[in-house]
Amino acid sequence: MNLSLTHYNGGKYLVQNIYSAQGTNPLSSVFLRSHMQYFSQGTGLIVWALLLLAGVVAIGLFFRFTTRREWMGQAMVPTFLMALGMLFFAITFDFPGEQVGPALIPRIWIVSLVILCCGLLFFAFTGNADKDPKAGRIGFVLMGIAVMIAYFFAIQTIGYFIGSFIFLALMMYILSCRKPMLLILVPTGWLVFSYLVFYKLLYIQLPLGFIENYL
């Protein structure tokens, strides 16, 4: 049995080569494991994530500033999925290395995903994919997403009831409802409904936020 000690920037990884030939074969799982284990956790994982992010940004910039601009979205979705898959792939080297262990199935899905995403990226690159759809009211959607994220934080700070009232009124206003009566009645009706059904009937403890301190 050959043993080799490999150093990576202050980390030490003991790699056990059962077959010395496989230890130098770049296609062997032992070789891959020995090199990927650094990237599977801690600093190495962060480095790997940053490298993947750089790759995603680079592909995005390529599509943005070339004649392939109309396929940018079609390229970015598979690129992002590939990057996520490769990040997860690196993490699998931190799992126990059993033959039919916890790493096997994730790796099968990830490798398949990366191969298919490469295919989609290739079609986008060669212009054989569908072009990106015409941009609709993206700003509107981003506003909606921002309001939803604010609602998520509001539930935890000011509580579900006040947060929901403000959320509903704001979303209705954004979607062009300008009648003051509706902007008050609909959120109020929803609060009454959710209080009676969820809080009272279904015993769901809805967060009350800072109000709980005064009750």
């Binding site: 979705v77 398949s112 979607l175």
Partner: protein, 497 residues
């Protein structure tokens, strides 16, 4: 005899005012949800699963299956009246339903849709009972390799039957399968991809992910195409077809119901494909094919009979094998899990009251749907005409509270929003969302059974186990064939160009 005994157990679940009230509520909510453009049956069921949390498992599943069956009919209301299908499968109904409205026969269109849906739903349930019970008995003998192969077959057919890009459907499935790997490994107990977060020990909770992917993403997509133009709908009552008209369309309804049920059995096929195929076959078999597309009652009957009967078909693999036959079934699977039930052959043995309760409830739901459909259309039209500026914020509010209610965790709300964003982006760029859900739902079944099979008998079991081998072969061809056809079509288009 055994079937009669089991049915007596099933019908006993419906005794009392509570189950009947639940079915009535389920049918009304289902019709409303189906009628609202942008809300699919899967969205409606996903949004209402949290409401069923404190109910008994039998009543919860009766509520959700009533919503499921009624929502397929509900889609025809807006399809006929304003040429805007409430559900994807109702797009076929609109092809002849809306021309009827333009000719001043909207009531007749709605009436035929209602009758066809009721009869189709009933036939679908009958075939469900005939298929599911013996299939569940056979499935008790399946090995882990067989289950793994069946789950893979389910995923392969979802990809191959998706309308649009098969590659993108496969990517969506694999994304769902990858997401399912987050959490504790079910066999070895190792933490996978949790990034040290307690919240991810059990992975993403299924229901909030479903609500995000099906409901929240729809609202974001609607916001992107927002015009603010209100829907205007004529208030019309259903007019049931006369006996003479019914005799003309009875064979169409029967044929489309059988077709719809059989197609519904195949995972990924669903109501839309069933409706299209049935419509096509009805046109070929009709004595007046030239009327199709111009207001043919046969056209409406074919579409509605198939899309309603597909519900029964889709429930066959879900109840008998635990493999969802459609996106809505995937949500129902989540509902089963929420109530600590595992659909599959053991459910028939351990909980016959739930299985036969569902069968009995579906029969009753069809009858209730007919009655409510005849007298309730004015009410449904009034509700569906609620401005979108009110409806969409309410949908988001329901999504948030529904996600929170599942396990009282604010993290689930964050997951719901995140999946909503993912769902919107996926749809925007042509990636279907339903395969993600099926990947999440079937991922555990594939992995557990695969690893068990290999640990017991080695990798060769997938070649030595005849059933597993045949099913895997069929799965392989079922997704390779559409890829090959798509490549040939692309080549032909290039040559023409």
């Amino acid at each position: 005899m055994e079937l009669l005994e089991s049915f007596s157990i099933g019908f006993s679940v419906l005794l009392g005012w509570k189950p009947i009230l639940i079915i009535i509520v389920g049918v009304i909510v289902g019709i409303l949800a189906g009628a609202m453009p942008g809300l699919s049956p899967s969205t409606a069921v996903a949004l209402l699963v949290p409401f069923s949390y404190t109910m008994s498992p039998a009543l919860a599943l009766i509520l959700l299956t009533s919503i499921y069956i009624a929502s397929n009919y509900g889609g025809s209301i807006t399809a006929v009246l304003i040429n805007t299908p409430g559900t994807p499968s109702a797009a076929v109904t609109a092809m002849d339903g809306y021309p009827l409205t333009k000719r001043g026969l909207a009531g007749k269109g709605l009436g035929v849709a209602l009758v066809a849906s009721t009869v189709g739903g009933a036939i679908g349930v009958a075939i469900l009972i005939l298929f599911a019970v013996p299939l569940a008995r056979v499935a008790l003998k399946f090995s882990p390799a067989d289950y793994c192969a069946l789950a893979l077959f389910g995923l392969a057919t979802v990809a191959s039957m998706s309308r649009g890009n098969v590659l993108k459907a496969l990517v969506a499935i694999l994304f769902g399968l990858m997401i399912k790997n987050i959490g504790i490994d079910p066999i070895s107990g190792v933490e996978r991809f949790t990034f040290g977060s307690d919240q991810l020990y059990d992975g993403f909770t299924l229901i909030p992910a479903l609500i995000g992917l099906f409901a929240v993403s729809v609202v974001f997509a609607k916001m992107e195409s927002w015009t603010g133009v209100p829907r205007v709908m004529e208030k019309v009552d259903s007019k049931l077809p006369s006996l003479k008209e019914f005799m003309k369309i009875k064979m169409t309804i029967l044929r489309s119901s059988v077709i719809g049920t059989i197609i519904g059995i195949f995972p990924g096929a669903g109501a839309t494909i069933a409706a299209f195929i049935s419509y096509d076959m009805a046109k070929k078999a009709s004595k007046t094919p030239e009327e199709f597309g111009k207001g043919s009652l046969e056209g409406v009957a074919a579409a509605e009979g198939a899309n309603s009967s597909s519900v029964g078909g889709a429930l066959v693999p879900l109840l008998a094998l635990g493999i969802p036959g459609s996106a809505t079934d995937a949500v129902l699977l989540g509902a089963f899990m929420l109530h600590d039930l595992v659909p599959g052959p053991l459910l028939f043995q351990d909980h016959p009251d739930i299985v036969y309760g569902i069968f009995s409830a579906l029969i009753l739901a069809n009858i209730i749907m007919l009655v409510i459909g005849i007298y309730g259309n004015r009410f449904f039209i009034k509700v569906v005409a609620v401005p979108e500026a009110i409806m969409y914020p309410l949908i988001l509010a329901i999504a948030v509270i529904g996600s929170f209610a599942v396990s009282g965790s604010i993290f689930d709300v964050a997951a719901c929003i995140a999946f909503g964003i993912i769902g919107w982006l996926f749809k925007r760029y042509g990636f279907p969302v339903a395969p993600i859900v099926l990947g999440i739902v079937l991922g555990k079944m594939v992995e557990e059974n695969f690893r068990r099979a290999v640990m017991m008998d080695g990798y060769s079991v997938f070649f030595t186990d005849k059933m597993a081998f045949i099913v895997l072969l069929i799965s392989f061809f079922s997704f390779v064939w559409p890829l090959y056809k798509s490549w040939k079509r692309h080549k032909a288009e290039q040559e023409i160009a």
